[in-house]
């Protein structure tokens, strides 16, 4: 096993507020890692730092051994990092199919001339990404909705569409930001199976933020607990559940 993601002493300051301080996480290839913590603990900020939405104030982030901190988000995605968003960010004026197609633009390797002249080489690529998009939609159970507007889907399906869209970028490392938010217990169980399935099928490494403890404890081998931007614990689900610091962060001290 080799490290696919390593963050070394990553800090992020927003003015006087230390949103994330001393983030040290180490993710091995093929793992499913959980990132938990109370609201405002800096989980999403950590995601934003790793995926390039924010620039770290200090520290370094290594993806597959290469420094990625400070790189543009699209360049990081190009290297094989994809994500979903806590507050769903679909392309709302576009159809379900188009949402997945657009995520393949980067890997299509086309140019303006080829695309506007509709050269055979472009049409071939276009057919290929259509097939792939349909396959991915079938994978997440949205194949009957491909012409629907993305935002017309119910909430749970929008989340699945976000995952399909992220998978379309051909990632090695996938970040899921609260994938079970707004799901009922039945859907959450299905989601767990789904996460395990895509991990094996697409040979992914997955890092997820989740408040739904059943999901986190169910699929994650290891987890990190953040509170006020500081990593207060990390270990296996059992270790975390019995860690006094974690209990204090979640429940407070009586």
């Amino acid at each position: 096993m080799t490290s696919i993601l390593q963050t070394v002493a990553v800090n992020k300051q927003f003015g006087g507020l230390a949103a994330v301080s001393g983030l040290d996480i180490d993710v091995q290839e093929g793992e499913i890692i959980g990132l938990i913590g109370p609201n405002g603990a800096g989980k999403t900020t950590s995601f934003n730092l790793i995926t390039g939405v924010y620039k770290p104030t200090s520290g370094s982030i290594l993806f597959a051994g290469r420094e990625i901190s400070g790189m543009k988000p699209h360049a990081i995605t190009h290297m094989g990092v994809a994500r979903t968003f806590q507050n769903i960010r679909l392309f709302k004026e576009m159809s379900v199919l188009e949402n997945v197609l657009v995520a393949q633009h980067m890997r299509m390797g086309t140019n303006l001339l080829e695309a506007t002249l509709r050269l055979p080489s472009y049409l071939k690529k276009e057919r290929h990404i259509h097939e792939r998009a349909r396959a991915l939609l079938a994978e997440v159970g949205l194949d009957h909705h491909e012409q629907a507007r993305a935002t017309s889907l119910p909430y749970g399906k929008q989340r699945r569409l976000e995952i399909a869209r992220a998978l379309a970028t051909e990632p090695k490392l996938l970040f899921l930001d609260e994938p079970a938010a707004g799901m009922n217990p039945q859907e959450s169980v299905e989601l767990m199976d789904f996460i395990l399935k895509i991990r094996d099928q697409f040979k992914l490494t997955i890092v997820l933020i989740e408040h739904h403890m059943q999901v986190v404890m169910g699929v994650c081998k290891r987890m990190y607990v953040l509170d006020y931007g500081v990593t207060i614990a990390h270990g296996t689900p059992d270790e975390i559940q019995n860690n006094p610091a974690v209990i204090e962060a979640y429940l407070g001290v009586g």
Partner: protein, 360 residues
């Protein structure tokens, strides 16, 4: 969409081909039968189509609120005009100060001059894009608006290149019906193909959600600059056509109000609809002429005016207000023309019905 799967000669392809042939024949007839005045308005329609489409590419499809169009038009218009004028004409025009020597003897045909005008506008658009496209929304609008005014001020003061506020007069009337409509059709086809390609999807993704687009591997800044460059190139082409349509240009024509004229067309037609821009460009251009009587003396029976210049613009302002209040999406919203849409509203028989009758 499904166009990839269709057989080579589907119903839509046949309809498109027949529409193209009918359109071409109509252009021939118009070219022969229109009087000079009608022809001028007809040509202006085509130029306004190009302007509206190019502004819609950035404002409507890429979601960048840019107000610098008049500046790019001016660059195209002046480049094209200076390059096509004969040395004698230049001597006659530049009476205050002679033209710089390296331009005095230059005279090239219209086609390459038009292209160069577009390219220079595109290049300036590219430079401006790299600098300003990090800005968003109203900040970008202000920056591009300021740029457009800078261009105008430079044109006014670069006496030895542009003849300053005297402008350039007596340009050859190169913009024939075929030039203006030919370019308009060519550019429309180009933009339809662009918008329906993977690039078009990427532009729309940037418009819909920039952060998500970036996270899906789309080089947001790069594609914004690309869209902006294409748009300014096309505005430059339109400017060149306009110069040789009016045969007289001066910097005052390219004040920022010109940009708002085009923006009016884009908003009325639908921000994010090529079809809307084409239709609105034609309607607005014709209406601007048809409503000219409003500027003259009016007699309402109970009240008579002796002519208020600019009253027809009040009509358009009112129209714009009504649209913004009651139909923000404009004429077409984000929808595009398609033969299927015509079937849906009952103007064409449905595809299924035709097949059922065996009519192939």
């Amino acid at each position: 969409m499904n166009t990839l799967k269709k057989s080579p000669m589907s119903r839509d392809a046949k309809l498109t081909l027949s529409a193209a042939i009918i359109g071409l024949i109509l252009l021939f007839i118009f070219d022969q039968s229109f009087d000079r005045f009608t022809m001028q308005i007809f040509k202006l329609c085509a130029i306004n189509i190009i302007l509206a489409l190019s502004l819609n590419l950035i404002n409507g499809f890429t979601g960048l609120f840019s107000l610098g169009h008049a500046g790019f038009m001016a660059v195209g218009a002046y480049t094209c005009a200076i390059l096509t004028m004969s040395p004698e004409q230049k001597e006659v025009n530049f009476i205050l100060q002679p033209i710089v020597p390296w331009l005095a003897q230059v005279q090239i045909p219209f086609a390459p001059a038009l292209l160069l005008g577009g390219m220079l506008a595109g290049f300036i658009g590219w430079v401006l894009g790299v600098i300003t496209l990090r800005l968003r929304d109203d900040y970008l609008a202000i920056a591009t608006l300021g740029f457009s005014e800078i261009i105008r001020v430079v044109l006014t003061n670069a006496q030895t290149v542009t003849n300053g506020s005297l402008g350039l007069k007596g340009l050859p009337r190169f913009t024939t019906m075929w030039w203006s409509w030919g370019m308009a059709i060519l550019i429309t086809v180009f933009l339809v193909l662009l918008i329906k390609s993977s690039y078009g999807r990427a532009f729309k993704a940037i418009r819909d959600n920039e952060i998500a687009a970036e996270s899906m591997g789309i080089n947001v800044l790069g594609l914004k600059v690309m869209s902006f460059t294409i748009s300014s190139f096309l505005a430059g082409i339109a400017g060149g056509l306009l110069a040789h349509y009016l045969t007289t240009i001066d910097p005052k024509q390219f004040i920022f109000l010109k940009t708002f004229d085009i923006l009016l067309i884009v908003v009325l037609g639908g921000v994010g609809s090529l079809t809307g821009s084409v239709v609105a460009a034609i309607v607005v251009t014709i209406a601007m002429e048809a409503l000219r009587f409003l500027d003259g003396p009016l007699n309402f029976g109970f009240y008579a005016t002796t002519g208020i210049p600019g009253l027809r613009m009040v009509f358009f302002s009112a129209l714009l207000m009504i649209v913004v209040i009651y139909r923000q999406q404009g004429l077409m919203g984000k929808a595009e023309f398609s033969w299927d849409a015509l079937s849906r509203i009952g103007l064409l028989p449905r595809r299924g019905a035709k097949a059922a009758k065996g009519g192939r």
